[in-house]
Amino acid sequence: MDYNVNVRVKPDNTGVETANVKMSMNPFDEIAVEEAIRLKEAGTATEVVVVSMGEKKCQETIRTALAMGADRGILVETDDELEPLAVAKILKGIVEKESPDMVFLGKQAIDGDNAQTGQMLAALLDWPQGTFASKVELADGGVNVTREVDGGLQTLKLSLPAIVTSDLRLNEPRYASLPNIMKAKKKPLETVTPADFGVDTAARVKVLKVEEPAKRQAGIKVATVSELVDKLKNEAKVV
């Protein structure tokens, strides 16, 4: 779902409204795609392959990445809702087939807000992980990843092959130009299924219900700073 959309919970509490809602590439994934394309432009990467999983319309997301500059796409087509663990298992299959030196993912998807897939893929492959990356630099046979951590920044040196998940400040993704969007239509896009990798996509986690969060009471406007301080002291009693 597009990041500007105001999410509406369905009246029957089975999920959120997705019909006729604007969809777009997850913002963190755009940053991941951009970083991979920059490595190719710098002459360090030879090929950028993009993968997406889901319904047939995920093709559009892959085409967007191809228009940004990726070389080819792989759509893992399924109507099942994939959990991060299943996504990681399928990606493992693709990595084993394609043998890349690095895999870039977004640090989290802004719908599920799980922030798991990159770490799970790293675990399954027994590769090192550089999560929440704000800077990626190839250096003597490895990769230095600067990570956004709670107290500031931390830089790790990872051996290759490695997994990197992108934070917001890693880069500024480019817009695809119209000629590149046209060219992207001719780039190869292969379709596979989870079964091709022998991955069981059955859900481990069942969503029992989805509800609106508690609504906040509408507040009041105060006219002056002294009125504000008075309210905070005597009404809300928080200062």
């Binding site: 807000d113 992980q129 928080v238």
Partner: protein, 309 residues
């Protein structure tokens, strides 16, 4: 049920985020706390005093310096056999190593829970906190990260848990720390502060954050920021409050020059009292603010400091 909580610590003491996680864990069963670090005996002692903790495991080895995910996950997997639930706070560290542990154990992870319904059912926010999902896992072992603002902190006194050392589980050698750049601050930690004052794009530049610092000094507050303020380079990234930054729920949150985008609200809308100071009376922040002041922050904030005496 027996529950393992992976502690966040600085080798000497246990961080607040762990205390909230222990409260969540107590709802599930007997709580064991794992303190893994390099020279972390004092933190192990501190963990043994947390109210409700029955056992503390200490893994003291250079491999656990800075909680490197590759090494932490191997250690936790080696200890996992005895536990039905493994919990960590949803901090940058917990979010880094927990999914790795889950995958190694071949179980799903439940991220960022705000409520325990039962041993297998939990409530967690999705879509930047715009919906709350109640989820039930069918996995035998539950791997969970805890949104710390969803649970009260356990008391740091009153416990008398036995402390046991556990063997290190080796070093992957695939990931090494080569540098750190941590913000130094005398102020309370953002995620556990009782009062937070945050600035947005409206602050104009980094120097102007000094206006907020003066108010923060009077209130004993932590300083936060919107993504716009961080991206503009006004303040470092670790001050960012929001969906992709820190989640806070203080007694009082003062938003200054912040419009109130969905992604920012995701990080602060569970605050008890929200104050907004913004010159744009249409700003969405006023829809969640208990007290709104439509004013130029450059006049209002110094006045606020003066009024607070």
């Amino acid at each position: 049920m027996s529950v393992l909580v992976i502690a966040e610590h600085d080798n000497a003491s246990i961080k607040d985020a762990t205390l909230n996680t222990v409260t969540a864990a107590k709802e599930l069963g007997d709580v064991t706390v794992l303190v893994a670090g390099n020279g972390c005996a004092a933190a192990g002692e501190a963990a043994s005093k947390i109210d409700g903790v029955v056992k503390v495991l200490v893994a003291d080895d250079a491999a656990y310096d800075h909680e490197i995910a590759e090494n932490m996950s191997t250690l936790v997997v080696s200890l996992a056999g005895d536990f039905t639930h493994i919990l960590a706070p949803a901090t940058a560290n917990g979010r880094n190593f927990m999914p790795r542990i889950a995958a190694l154990l071949d179980v799903a992870q439940i991220s960022d829970i705000v409520k325990v319904e039962s041993a297998d059912t939990f409530v967690r926010p999705i879509y930047a906190g715009n919906a709350m999902a109640t989820v039930q896992t069918s996995d035998a072992k539950k791997i969970i990260t805890v949104r710390t603002t969803g649970f009260d902190a356990a008391a740091t006194e009153g416990g008398s848990a036995a402390v046991e050392s556990v063997a290190a589980a080796g070093c992957s050698g695939k990931s090494t720390l080569i540098g750190e750049e941590l913000s130094k601050s005398e102020r309370p930690e953002l995620t556990s502060a009782k009062v937070v004052i945050s600035g947005g794009r409206g602050m104009g530049n980094g120097e102007n954050f000094q206006l907020l610092e003066k108010v923060a000094d009077k209130l004993g507050a932590a300083i936060g920021a919107s993504r716009a303020a961080v991206d503009a380079g006004f303040v470092p990234n670790d001050l960012q409050v929001g969906q992709t930054g820190k989640i806070v729920a203080p007694e009082l949150y003062i938003a200054v020059g912040i419009s109130g985008a969905i992604q920012h609200l995701a990080g602060m809308k569970d605050s008890k009292v929200i104050v907004a100071i913004n010159k744009d009376e249409e700003a969405p922040i006023f829809q969640v603010a208990d007290y709104g002041l439509v004013a130029d922050l450059f006049e209002a904030v110094p006045e606020l400091e003066k009024e607070l005496g």
